[in-house]
Amino acid sequence: MEGCLNEISYINVISPGFQTTVQDLGRYGFAHLGVSASGAADPVSLRIGNLLLGNPQNAAALELTLVGGEYQFESGCVFALTGSDFGATLDGQEIPLWSSVKAQAGQILRSGSTRSGARCYLCIGGGINTRRVLGSFSTHVMTSIGGFSGRPLRGGDRVRFLGQVGDAPFRPQRLKKAVIHQLMHRSVIRVTHGPQADLFSDEVTALFTTAVYHVTEETNRMGLRLTGSVLKQERAAEMVTEGVALGAVQIPPSGEPILLFVEHQTTGGYPKIANVVSADIHILGQLRPRDSVRFEFISFERAHELLLRQEAMISTQFLEFV
């Protein structure tokens, strides 16, 4: 973005939808104080939105959940919607997903109920610019840290962003269709063996990968609770509380899995049969209550290969001018 100046501007929240928060790629380095990373539930969509706008990939955006809401731009800006299709319009005109769009001062973005997955990102050229807390703009909703006053947005909030003022003509870009499909559509969640995988018998482990699980209503940024086949431990081993990783598949005494998500507790005492691979974490962020999921075990080597292949697709070379 050469020749551009940044100018402070605001988005007015007319109505905030179901849960809209400020998110970047997360807050690292404070887990030993009990603070988990938080950050975008679907970091792939956030990064692509930022790529479309020429932002750093870690720039903060608004994460819309299930129902989008209504927002007015106080000044002209360039924005992009990525992730799930919430049927958004700008002053009544339908706008495409995975594309950069120019808005004039005063225009209103309306975004309804999702037609696909759980989350849509409203990325802005220059990035959302609330106060950085512990090095990140991300909201940790459960502990009221960061983002916009540590909480989801409400009607009447004015969210600051750094608009780009420049004389370069605007040329809309979009992500190539083939890449969208490869990045976003996955019916099976890949997992590696968890630290307590050996507490579960071969039969139980097999059941975990053949069963179809459903996402329950008790699902949020902290964790996804699943319902389906009950998984019992071979031996009811006493476990001492230990550190837990993003995407851990915990099996509580009820036997129904809980997937630890971006706002997870930093330590926990339930055994973990598996862990979702890095390349599929963003898919969890798009799961809605009642969606079904299946799991497949893969090796650590394969998980790493999948991640490298996915990373290669998150690149400006897969963007095209409209």
Binding site: Y28, A31, G34, A37, T192, V240, E242, A248, T266, T267
Partner: protein
């Protein structure tokens, strides 16, 4: 090779971007010291791939960026550090005094803990405030200290139904553990008092009042002292 012979310390990939080092299977000061040694070594090494360190009673989870370090190489790097931990000097423990108002209004379960253990409320306060507690680690939620060890005379079962809201600063007992709630939150532990100190402030350069390895002493204060300190929204604390 030592992991095959000894079993502990045990290193494993907990996910494709985290390594779990386990020093044993029980809560002990010996394992705690190993956790602190490895934690100290990791802080001084500053490997560029490290994202987060999650210490616990007898283990340490290290999360890393798999695009910066290959998972197997990273595990080998951690393995090398674990082999060196015996040479690490433990940092000096700070002694932190935490004022607590043991008052039935701020500690609604004080009487329960007393009658459950067939002792008086005064004895509950005396036992609780005459013990030195080790901060094993901070975990669960921001600034929450896992403290040990609680005198046997004070063990008390958790509430059958957790309270919807436990006020920030509440000092509580859950089974054989004692802790302090850093923020208003739901909770099932028995509340015996409250501190006016803030345990966690994200806006502070040093956000957590307590650190892993600190020694905590609870100092009884009157309701009046509590009110004064709370009014000043005191954010400093005494390090003895």
């Amino acid at each position: 090779m030592f992991s095959e012979v000894l079993r502990y310390p045990r290193l494993q990939l907990a996910s494709d971007c985290s390594v779990l080092v386990t020093f044993g299977i029980n809560i002990s000061r010996e394992h705690h010291r190993d956790v602190v040694r490895l934690f100290t070594l990791l802080l001084s090494e500053r490997h560029p791939a490290i994202r987060n360190l999650h210490p616990a009673y007898c283990s340490l989870l290290i999360t890393f960026d798999p695009l910066v370090a290959d998972p197997h190489h990273f595990r080998d790097f951690i393995h090398g550090l674990v082999e060196r931990i015996d040479s690490v000097l433990l940092p000096m423990s700070r002694v932190v005094e935490i004022p607590v108002c043991y008052d039935t209004a701020l500690g609604p379960d004080l009487q329960f803990v007393a009658s459950h253990n067939h002792i008086s409320v005064a004895e509950v306060i005396r036992y609780h405030s005459s013990t030195e507690y080790l901060v094993y680690f901070l975990g669960f939620s921001p600034g929450f200290p896992y403290l040990g060890e609680l005198p046997k005379q004070l063990f008390a079962p958790r509430l059958p139904t957790p309270r919807v809201k436990v006020p920030a600063g509440s000092v509580a007992i859950g089974g054989n553990q004692t802790g302090i709630y850093p923020a208003d939150s739901p909770g099932g532990w028995r509340i015996i008092g409250r501190t006016p100190l803030k345990l966690f402030r994200a806006e502070r350069s040093e956000p957590a009042l307590l650190h892993m390895g600190d020694i905590v002493r609870f100092v009884p204060i009157t309701r009046r002292e509590f009110n004064e300190m709370a009014l000043l929204s005191m954010n400093q604390w005494r390090v003895a």
